[in-house]
Structure formats: C-alpha cells, structure tokens
C-alpha cells in the first residue's frame, strides 16, 4: 500500500506535465533505434550536410555580417518588410545570396539544405518561438485554413491525420502529431536530407492532390501555422525520421 502511494507520488508530476501539454514531437513517437541514431551525431547522417554547410558558411564569408545564428531557426518563418510577406529560413538564405552575392540558390538544392542545416543546428534544444508580429496574422489564418481544408482525390485534410488520428497507424507507421521541430531532416525513406516544404509536398502527393510549387505562398503559410501550433516545443534539427 505504502509502495503504491510512493509510486503514485513519483508518477504524479510526470502525469501532470503530460496533461498540461499533450503535444509530442516526432522524435518522441519514433522507435528507440531511430532515437539513438538521432541522439548521436556520429551516427546521424544529417551531420554530413552540416559539415558541408559549415564549409559553405566560410566560403561565402557569411560570418562577415552574421556573428551568431543561435536561435535564428527557432523564429522562422518571419515577416520580411521589403517583400511584405512572411518568408522561411531557406528563402531568407536564398534572398541573402541573391541580394548580397548575386548568386541564385535553387530550392531544395544540396547547398541550400546544407547551409540551412548548419544554421538550424545552432538552435538545437531551443524552444520554437514564432514572432508575435500582427502583420503575420492573415498568413497565419490562411495557413490554419489550409491545414483544415480537405484536398486531393482522397479528400483528406492535414488535421484529419495529424490532429484527429495522431498516434494511430497508417499502414505500419505511427502517425505523428505533425510538429515541424527537426527540419531540415534526414529521412530514411528519402535516403537524404529534405526540407519541411518537401515533406508538405510529399503529403499532398500522398493524398493525391496537386503538389504546390516550391516557392508557393501556401507552403510558407502552412509552415507559419505549424510553427505557431508547435510553439514552445524544443527544436531537434537536423533530425532523423523514418
């Protein structure tokens, strides 16, 4: 009896925190083997891209303007005053290359992914902190509407899987809650590094909808909404996912 009471006392705080925040990142719902692969940088293949990103960072002399990138990945997508719309971290890097070094970086190119991974790593462990900018509101609402809109021949919305059926299975795989804490990440299915935009396009193809173009505003809006939805969750980029 006394043992049971002790056990209850011991588990109570754990249960209480779980009740307070039911959100789980994809890291927590994947297999222990994959978790071990992500925890150890010597096993995580994404570190190959980080290494490449570090080389490009010094090659492009990014450090001449940017001293530290700690916490930067945690606050994107953010509003760009010149473009008058939100942009993602990858778009921010493309913009920097275009404006200051007159060089184009293709979306989802190895160079862009590498530098994004190098920057994202510097925010590892920090909570997602989407900016509290009123100018983002219309894009945020649009992202939320997109998340809940049924699309494709399968007529499914993001919310139907990742809100209503998270934790259940789709074929053999556990459906995660869809918190974008680890991007860009190494996906075993891709055998390579990919961005959140690639993941979102993948999901669109999965429900047999027309995938958005790489530079579509819809993708940015969705990323913006996902950042708000996962606000406060710790970043674990560059992650490993099945």
């Amino acid at each position: 009896m006394r043992g049971l009471l002790l056990l209850l006392l011991w588990t109570a705080p754990v249960l209480a925190t779980q009740a307070a925040d039911p959100r789980r990142s994809g890291f927590e719902t994947m297999s222990p083997a994959l978790q071990a692969m992500q925890r150890d940088d010597a096993l995580n293949p994404a570190m190959l891209w980080v290494k490449e990103g570090q080389v490009l960072w010094s090659q492009w002399a990014c450090a001449r303007c940017h001293a530290s990138m700690a916490g930067v990945a945690a606050r994107y997508p953010a509003f760009d005053a010149a473009l008058k719309r939100p942009i993602t971290l990858a778009q921010r890097i493309q913009q920097c290359r275009r404006q200051h070094q007159s060089s184009e970086l293709a979306p989802e190119s190895e160079a862009l992914l590498s530098v994004t991974a190098f920057i994202a790593l510097q925010s590892r462990g920090q909570p997602t902190t989407p900016p509290d900018d009123p100018r983002l509101q219309p894009y945020l609402s649009s992202g939320q509407a997109l998340f809940q809109r049924r699309i494709g021949q399968l007529n499914l919305s993001c919310a139907q899987c990742h809100d209503e059926r998270a934790g259940q299975r789709l074929s053999g795989s556990v459906i995660p809650q869809g918190h974008a804490t680890g991007y860009p990440l190494y996906r075993l299915e891709w055998q390579g590094l990919g961005s959140l935009a690639r993941r979102l396009r993948n999901c669109a193809i999965g429900v047999r909808a027309q995938a958005w173009a790489w530079d579509a505003q819809e993708l940015v809006d969705l990323e913006l909404y996902l950042a708000r939805r996962g606000s406060g969750l710790a970043l674990d980029a560059p992650a490993v996912r099945p």
Binding site: D41, A42, L43, P45, M47, L48, W49, K51, E52, L188, Q191, G192
Partner: protein
Amino acid sequence: MARTLITMPSKARRGELIEIRCLIGHVMETGYRRSDDGQLMPRDLIRAFRCEYGGAVVFSVELHAAVAANPLIAFWLRAADSGPLRFTWEGDRGFAQTEVLDLRVT
C-alpha cells in the same frame, strides 16, 4: 570529393580498444532502379572500404547493392603504436576517397 565524418578518439592507451565510426555521403545507386523516364540508372556503389594502420590493413569491408545510401561503417581497433590511420573507400565510376587521421598512443 565526397563528404566524410570519421569519429574516433585522437589518443588512446596502449592495448586499449577504441571505436571508430566512418560515415560517407554516397548515393549507393543499385543499378536496378529506373528513372522517371524509364531509363535504367547506372550502378554507382562503393565496392570496398579498408582501414590501414601500422603498415597493415586492419579492417576491410565489401559493399553490395543492398547497402543504404550514406553508409556508416563502425568497428573496434586495439591501439598499438602512434601513427596515422588511413581510411579508403573505392567504388564504381572510379570513385576513390582517402582520409588520414592521427592516433596518439601513450
């Protein structure tokens, strides 16, 4: 030039067992897949990996089509003498990559 990540201690005691992990960026294309336009994609594999230490091959592997992209090879080695460890990957299309890391044995 492929990207490699080799994780090992830089120094060890004589007789100590050390773990060495070698990760390399490589597509490991099997030669059995077809591209979007139906063409067979040519085989592009790393065929062999070896580690030389103290003038001898201390570890070697043959790799085949079932190995995933960006292969990780991990093995244990008994530290004998101070000196360089030479890691070599060889493969199709003349692929060759060599990395040299020093081990200090005390």
